[in-house]
Subunit: 128 residues, 2 copies
Amino acid sequence: MSEIEEVATISQAQSNDETVGRFAYVGLERAIHEKARLGLLTSLISHPSGLLFNDLKELCALTDGNLSRHLKVLQEAGLVEVWKGFNQNRPQTLCRVTVNGRRRFLEYLSVLEKVVADAAEAAELSAP
Amino acid sequence: MSEIEEVATISQAQSNDETVGRFAYVGLERAIHEKARLGLLTSLISHPSGLLFNDLKELCALTDGNLSRHLKVLQEAGLVEVWKGFNQNRPQTLCRVTVNGRRRFLEYLSVLEKVVADAAEAAELSAP
């Protein structure tokens, strides 16, 4: 194999792994990926029967306003359902992940696992 | 152990793992976590000597405008450095991750690994 052929082969091998959009991570759904919502969904997934607004607020260290805003985004995206009710005459809000939300979160998670693996590999290969 | 004590013990055991801010993920630095910038940094980490603007654009499937915008955020956060130069009289832009950027990306990555582990565990425990 001539030197030119060799370079061409190496270049081809690299380009297979370096394709257009190699690092685009299309599956990182924006409604889920935002930092606060990622925490909200993880807590809701670990409590499939739902969490009260105040418990969710504490677990995710959010203010009332921020939690309401993010819940609205999650609700509009069909990831979470929000229930209003009363307990001893006091209004309560119950938040629960939907079946569809659970499925989409698991899909998101598999992309996130790929990102972590990619990044860890890249960091290791380029270690000083 | 009385029933009340038992409930109190269980409740305490749960609250140890269910502390305030348990799912706040403070270490997910916003400048890095945004989907497009996460892809940009991963490609730059895997090319420590830098990437030309156009190569980065293709790898991350971004438009000129979006890439410029995200590079500006990364540059202002001290994560990436941008160099202007010429190759055969044509202007070129070289983008490179900074030493500080590499360190912060690795810190971010360790939090992201924790998120993935948390979420995977939560999903497994709550599997229907």
